[in-house]
């Protein structure tokens, strides 16, 4: 069945844009506060929230079928392994 029956209203899209801009401001603000090692993680955390908004709403993942959602999550899973296993490797050299 076609899942393209769902249309995002302009207001919703604009609200998402405002949220993204706010989060951008938050990221910049946080970068002025010295939290040591935590800074990178805060920055990446906020970036992940922004990315989720773009993926779910702008890229329509929220209303997509299982095939798309599962294949996307698999890609993220693969990325997680690629990054974490690399760290695991260099941590013990």
């Amino acid at each position: 069945m076609e899942k393209n029956d769902h249309i995002f209203g302009y207001r919703t899209l604009f609200a998402v844009l405002l949220a993204l801009l706010t989060l951008t401001g938050l990221t910049v603000g946080a970068s002025f506060i010295d939290m040591g090692k935590l800074n990178v993680w805060v920055a990446l955390g906020i970036a992940s929230v922004k990315a989720s908004l773009v993926l779910m709403i702008f890229m329509h993942l929220k209303f997509e079928g299982r095939a798309l959602i599962l294949s996307f999550l698999s890609t993220v899973f693969f990325l997680a392994i690629m990054i974490s296993f690399t760290f695991w490797d260099i941590a013990f050299r």
């Binding site: 069945m1 995002f8 302009y10 990178v40 993926l55 079928g65 095939a67 798309l68 294949s71 890609t75």
Partner: protein, 206 residues
């Protein structure tokens, strides 16, 4: 052959298949940039101070402006799809045009950023980088490769959007058949997604 029921135009075209095809391609792009981010992550942990110093050389204003521009362009592209779905062709055309404009501004900014860096001797294989600390050489090497590859993707994305613009203009993209615009949009959103991570990692390093 799967036997689910399709109606109307989508019986002749495979809208769902086209979308899935685009997503599959996007996954390869994610892994491509993901690999570069792995490089960044490893060298950041090894040369943290050099990366912090390198980050200070980058202009935050440019970074923030470019981030905002791309976010607005993603909004515009998403809005163009809503417009097409609602049969509002003019709004769709203006939205796509807006995204293209944003992309152009991004490229102009990039031109000034790189131009300035090159003018002060920071470019791949420059004496300043080769003679300086290893970590800084790596930081700027990664900066040029990642933002360069990203810039190429902006150009590709803009081309794709321009093609979609043409098809919307010609009336070939309709409320029942808009995979072309949707896919161009998806590609563009990916370019935005990548930048969402590039921005804090390069411009806001502390």
């Amino acid at each position: 052959m799967s036997s689910h029921i399709k109606t109307g135009e989508s019986m002749k075209t495979d809208e769902a298949g086209k979308k899935m095809g685009m997503w599959l391609f996007l996954y390869t792009e994610i892994i491509l940039f993901g690999g570069l981010f792995v490089l960044y992550a490893v060298y950041f942990s090894k040369y943290t101070n050099d990366f912090i110093e390198g980050g200070k050389e980058l202009n935050r204003v440019f970074g923030v402006v470019n981030t905002v521009i791309l976010l607005i362009s993603s909004f515009a592209v998403a809005a163009s799809i809503t417009a097409v779905q609602k049969g509002q062709r003019k709004i769709a055309l203006w939205s796509i045009g807006g995204s293209l404009g944003c992309g152009a501004i991004f490229l102009v900014n990039k031109y000034f950023e790189w131009g300035h860096k090159i003018a002060i001797g920071i470019y791949p294989n420059s004496e300043k980088l080769l003679d300086g600390p290893d970590g800084q050489n790596l930081f700027f090497g990664l900066y040029y490769v990642i933002t360069g590859l990203h810039g190429i993707h902006i150009i590709i994305g803009m081309t794709f959007l321009a093609v979609a613009f043409g098809f919307v203009l010609a009336g070939k993209v309709t409320a029942h058949r808009f995979a072309l615009l949707e896919n161009a949009g998806l590609y563009w959103h990916l370019v935005d997604l990548i930048w969402i991570f590039v921005f804090p990692l390069f411009y806001l390093v502390i």
